[in-house]
Amino acid sequence: MPQAAATAALTSAMRDKTCVLSLRGRLDVTAAGTLWTTALNAAAAQPEGPLVIELSALESCDTAGAALLLAMAEARPGATFEGADPQVTAVLERARKALVEPPPPPPVPPMPWHTVIRQGLVAAGDGFAFLGEALAAVLHLPTRSRQFRLADMLRTADQAGVRGVPLVLLLGILIGLILAFQSLMPMRRFGADLYVANLVAVSLLRELGPLLASVVLAGRSGSAFAAEIGTMKVNQEVDALNTMGIDAMTMLVLPRMAAALLVMPVLTVLLELAGLAGMSVVLVGSGIPLVAVANQVARWVRPADFYGGLAKAVVFGAVVAAIGCRAGLSAGNGPRAVGQAATAAVVGGIVATVVLDGVFAVLFYRLGL
């Protein structure tokens, strides 16, 4: 058994005024692991006087063992080896050559705050540049229509839209249920049970519907776009496209953005309908007739609420898809980069959605919508 054979031992003795550390047995990687701390301490802790590391009883030594011997010698300047057989000497020599000090890694200076801010601004500027590039690609589309592949767009729409329907329905029903239930309790104290319908319907249609659909898109598809394009980038497929004279923006980004634009209103409407259904379940369960709930919703929800929500959903969809694609296209090298791109896509998508939602709120207020 390898473990049983892995034995080396260390003894220390005094010879005249010289400290002698003797090693015997086979100094392999397992033995080096066991002996490391003891041996280094023994080498460093010897009293004054020269140190000799006695190796004549050492049967064999591998490179890990050699690393230990060299570390011992280093712990005690002026230490010498004695009695090493040719094999051990050869390994020691090789190890000594291999362990020449590597150049110290360049110190990483702490980043001053203005650099952090500048980098943030540069990143935001890059984002706008990307949007501009996408816009330019759209303008050039008539001349590059063959590079925009409809099949890709439909496949993406299927992935991002159709396959997301069950999740969106589930989320919608649950959110409707929860909102209605949570607001029913306080509203009932004022005898305003019926107005729960207005509350939930307006908040769903104006805010929560587009917002949640966008979060779902960022989580399901933004990350997928980033991983897919990021892997293509890592495998030099994007470079291959460029050398073929195919614009990556037109071939990879536009179909995904178009697909997201198409599916987002649908997902949003489905989420809102499911939410209204969930709300109705709670209200009907609490004794309000379904007709009253329906009337209340129909009377209080304006078309502007619904269309405003849909307009937001379209913008969110385009931005989330663009951020996902951009994260993929700017991925670095290696498997870690793909993971980072996917994370950046989801985080960026959600942050951008929330920020844009705030902008829309101000805008709609100013426009009196």
Partner: protein, 251 residues
């Protein structure tokens, strides 16, 4: 051979995929300190034979004895113990992309030895120094060239100081100079550390430079068509296929 026990012995090895037989009755022995090359044209089963030797593919028939242990008959524990004592360099390096080179080499040390952290770092630095990568410790695999990746993969295979090293296509896809550098590295490691190498390759120059003995597989013969010293095979073999291989002639 001087050593009584071969470090690697394959006897009667066969591999079939469904009804298709890749090879059968392949037997060989590798002595300690030897550089043993498995060669042959594409698709003859070189890499499959290597996979059988390192415990990744159960042979259809036959047995593999690595360092005295029949790896497919042994218990799982005994087999793992043997597999810890061999090093493997995969064709594309198979370095872990999310770790630096130093971390790649430190991983087996961390799992299999009691070395404290500074010791692991030192030993890993030594291994990378052995293959000439002392100044690239903190690079990621994606940031280095193909030749460096092969060297780093050899360093990782050396992490636990195995007496037996398997290299899959160490010089494939490298320029002649880098390739010759890898050959030299193999010979130096053999000389200085007394390692045994089993190398799968079809680079003719590399075979002639490093191999003590070789085993030539052939697709049509479904097995070994030649074995022995490659220089003698080149000069003396009567088999047209062997001659064609060593003289780089089209079949």
């Amino acid at each position: 051979m001087s050593a009584p026990d071969p470090v690697l012995r394959g006897s009667g090895l066969a591999q079939s995929f469904g009804s298709r037989t890749l090879y059968h009755d392949v037997s060989f022995e590798v002595a300690r300190g030897e550089v043993f090359v498995i060669l042959g044209g594409s698709g003859c089963g070189k890499s499959t034979l290597l996979r059988q030797c390192i415990g990744l593919l159960v042979p259809t028939a036959g047995s593999v004895v690595v360092l005295g242990e029949d790896i497919y008959a042994a218990t799982a524990v005994a087999r793992d113990a043997v597999l810890c004592r061999i090093g493997v360099m995969f064709q594309s390096g198979a370095l872990f992309g999310s770790m630096t080179l130093l971390e790649n080499v430190m991983l087996p040390l961390e799992v299999h030895t009691d070395l404290p952290l500074p010791a692991r770092e030192r030993v890993a630095r030594l291994k990378l120094g052995l293959v000439g990568l002392a100044d690239s410790l903190s690079l990621l695999p994606a940031e280095i060239s193909g030749g460096m990746a092969k060297r780093a993969a050899i360093a990782r295979a050396l992490a636990l100081d195995p007496p037996l090293l398997f290299l899959d296509e160490p010089s494939a896809g490298l320029d002649p100079v880098t390739s010759a550098g890898i050959d030299q590295l193999i010979l130096e490691l053999r000389r200085d550390l007394g390692l045994t190498f089993v190398v799968v390759t079809h680079e003719l120059a590399s075979i002639l430079a490093i191999a003590d003995r070789c085993l030539m597989l052939d697709h049509d013969a479904q097995g070994v068509i030649a074995s022995g010293d490659p220089k003698r095979l080149r000069d003396e073999s009567e088999d047209p296929k062997v001659r064609a291989f060593f003289r780089r002639e089209a079949a």
